[in-house]
């Protein structure tokens, strides 16, 4: 092949994107790692000679900090309860929408998707009002049902469920669409064959829909988990991590340590530990899926 003279024009096309990614993404991530090995804080911001390199010191302090483990527990609660709940609602919504008898499908699809498009800060504020123990929408619902209204955001037991409810409401539309796409790729003849074999609705779902939906399902689980592990805006706006640190998430902890108290070194360590958690969890999910698919096949 003839050797091109000068710069390969492909680089002109990918150059800007790669340059921006390198400078504004890769660079800071690496710098963050270096930062996590120091005790960079407000004192050091003023005078650099007040900086100390402490190696794994931040990580050790992190792992010994009850506050960090509180954040991990809260985030895990959110992911392990909110994740499956969110996915289940999305799947149900998709199945309902996919039914051939449904009328006004595009309208319904838009309506169900609308919460996804809204600004999280705005809806968090609205939901904060909805959660008001006396004047909120849910309080009204409770009184209609004859139940004492719950102090959603003030009760340590109910605060995280309140956040989960908001997250599910906000996000179910997105995965609903993904599932819809997956459902629509199920070949109709498979259903025909199953019906001819005398299979009812549930067996059809189990043996035709689910297997075809498996890769979509795997994708949804992985992306939802990664997204939910990064919980931040809801507790930031609604509860500031309270009550009694019951809605303190890992990213919220990182934000507070980094941007409120300026313990930049420590906060960077928190961020990297989160990254490690995401890697481990994602890896585990991919592995599980491989094992599961091998069993099914």
């Amino acid at each position: 092949m003839r050797r091109r003279r000068g710069l390969d024009p492909a680089w002109l096309l990918v150059g800007p994107a790669l340059a921006i990614l390198a400078v504004f993404f890769a660079g800071p991530v690496l710098a963050s790692f270096v930062l996590s090995l120091t005790d960079f804080d407000l004192y050091a911001v003023a005078r650099l000679d007040r900086l100390r390199v402490i190696g794994a010191g931040n990580y050790a302090a992190l792992l010994a900090s009850p506050r960090f483990w509180r954040a991990v527990r809260n985030t895990a609660y959110f992911v392990l309860v909110g994740g499956p709940l969110s996915i289940a609602v999305s799947l149900v919504a998709a199945l309902l929408l996919d039914a051939p008898a449904v009328r006004w499908k595009p309208f319904l699809r838009t309506v169900l998707f609308l919460p996804v498009v809204t600004t999280l800060v705005a809806v968090a504020i609205v939901w904060r009002a909805i959660y008001h123990p006396r004047a909120g929408l849910l309080a009204w619902l409770c009184t209609q049902l004859g139940v004492t209204p719950i102090d959603w955001l003030g009760d340590p037991v109910w605060a995280m469920p309140a956040i989960i409810l908001l997250a599910v409401w906000k996000n179910f539309g997105f995965n609903m669409l993904v599932f819809l796409a997956g459902l629509q790729s199920v070949p109709e003849r498979l259903y025909e064959a199953a019906r001819l074999d005398g299979a009812g609705a549930w067996p059809r779902f189990r043996h035709v829909t689910l297997p075809v939906l498996a890769p979509t399902f795997g994708f949804v689980v992985v992306t939802t988990t990664i997204g939910y592990l990064q919980l931040f805006a809801e507790p930031y706006v609604m509860t500031q991590g309270g009550p009694a640190e019951h809605t303190l998430s890992i990213v919220l902890l990182m934000y507070e340590e980094g941007f409120r108290w300026w313990n930049l070194g420590f906060a960077a360590a928190v961020a990297f530990v989160l990254f490690a958690i995401i890697l481990v969890v994602t890896g585990a999910q991919v592995l599980l899926r491989r094992i599961f698919t091998r069993e099914v096949a």
Binding site: D41, Y43, A46, H132, L153, M238, T239, P243, F259, R260
Partner: protein
């Protein structure tokens, strides 16, 4: 240079000269909360007195102010003059972010309330000019207490407890005699200071929250919750304090002078006379019932390009007429005692009474430890106290954990001091 080149250079010179003569010098000021809204009015007179100077005011909500301040410092975006809570001054000094103002206030030092001025003094130098004084005192629904047979505002902790219990008995369920938001550190700290606790030891390098005086104070605080006199309301609930006060959902509230104006504005006219103020009750008769030396100061940031002008603006804003105007517009109490006589603070009898309680209290105020880490320590205090209030841990466990947290927070300070000592 060619002829046209010289002409061009001359033109540029003239143009720049004209530009600098006509383009206004801009001073940026940050005001927090209500004062931020009011500042625009206060700087108008300054702008008239200094033609060619434009003062740009930005209003920052208190809830985000501390974050914004530090973010701006790190980002190099601090304004010229900043209103800061005086508990933040040690932080700004540690960051080397502000200029000393000793020269500026040399002639008027004695006019400031000593406890208030003290919060601005570190290492023998003064770093901020006190603007308004803030302290916390009791606000209460006088009509409800009178109806319950409580005889006048409580002067001691014992009387206070008795009054609260009286209210609890008479007002029935759904009423909490005192509102104590768990997110506010001021009340428990006031109680501790009243008991003579220092909160930190070893030159403010270690926590001392478990010391006997502090423990006694926090136990009293916890007791209020244990007896059901205060509800475990978290600040996360959208508690409309004013609606609840008007509805009589609580009787007593420990809060500051800004609520003089807010209550007057937000309460329905029928309740105009229904509330009063009183200085903080003291632990025992004969012991002063001190309160926090709070308030805000005006500081000049070190990064300002117009230090003299910024200093002049600060002098203007802390001048007696402006302090009077600040009181008029925002209800903030002047930090200079002569202003209390100089301007008509509180015109009619009822207002007079309410403000008089603040005057009394301001004679007995104490500063919190003047270190940069105080804000962070105060947050940990509210957290551990909240756990104790909710019954998750005993008070002793909470205070021990708090001291551990505080020791960890202050580790860097210890290291720096050890290094400087070498």
């Amino acid at each position: 240079m060619s002829g046209s080149g010289v002409a061009a250079a001359l033109l540029l010179l003239v143009a720049s000269g004209v530009a600098s003569a006509t383009s206004p010098v801009e001073l940026r000021v940050w005001g927090m909360g209500r004062e931020g809204e009011v500042l625009r009015d206060l700087v108008a007179v300054f702008e008239e007195a200094h033609p060619g100077v434009r003062v740009r005011v930005q209003q920052i909500p208190w809830s985000a102010a501390h974050e914004k301040l530090l973010t701006a410092f790190v980002g190099g975006a601090l304004p010229d003059v900043i209103q800061v809570g005086n508990t933040w001054i040690p932080e700004l000094v540690a960051l080397d972010a502000v200029l000393p103002v000793d020269d500026q206030i040399a002639t008027i030092r004695d006019d400031f309330f000593p406890g208030i001025l003290d919060t601005n003094v570190l290492d023998g130098r003064t770093w901020g000019v006190p603007w308004y004084a803030d302290t916390r005192i009791l606000f209460y629904r006088h009509d409800l207490t009178a109806a319950a047979g409580v005889d006048g505002p409580p002067a001691t902790w014992a009387e206070w407890l008795a009054a609260l219990e009286r209210m609890q008995r008479s007002a029935g369920p759904g009423h909490s005699p005192i509102l104590l938001p768990l997110r506010e550190w001021q009340t428990p700290v006031i109680l501790a200071l009243q008991r003579g606790a220092t909160l930190l030891r070893d030159e403010a390098t270690r926590g001392d929250f478990a010391s006997p005086p502090a423990r006694t104070a926090f136990d009293f605080y916890l007791d209020l919750f244990r007896r059901g006199l205060a509800r475990r309301d978290a600040a996360t609930q959208v508690t409309n304090v004013y609606q609840d006060f008007a509805a009589g959902r609580f009787t007593f509230y420990v809060t500051g002078p800004w609520n003089l104006g807010e209550l007057a504005r937000r309460l329905p006219p029928a309740l105009e006379d229904a509330w009063r103020t009183a200085p903080m009750p003291s632990p025992a008769p004969g012991v002063p019932g001190v309160s926090l030396a709070g308030g805000a100061s005006l500081v000049v940031s070190r990064s300002t390009t117009e230090p003299a002008l910024a200093g002049a603006l600060v002098a203007h804003l802390t001048d007696i007429p402006m302090l009077c105007r600040l009181y008029d517009l925002a209800g903030d109490l002047p930090a200079r005692s002569s202003a209390w006589n100089g301007c008509p603070i509180a015109r009619d009898g009822r207002d007079e009474e309410r403000t008089a309680a603040f005057w009394t209290q301001l004679q007995a105020v104490r500063a919190t430890p003047k270190i940069p880490e105080w804000e962070r320590i105060a947050t940990r205090l509210t957290h551990h106290l909240e756990l104790a209030v909710r019954g998750d841990v005993t008070l002793d466990v909470a205070l021990a954990a708090l001291d551990r947290d505080v020791d960890a927070i202050l580790e860097k300070r210890r290291w720096l001091r050890a290094r400087e000592a070498e």
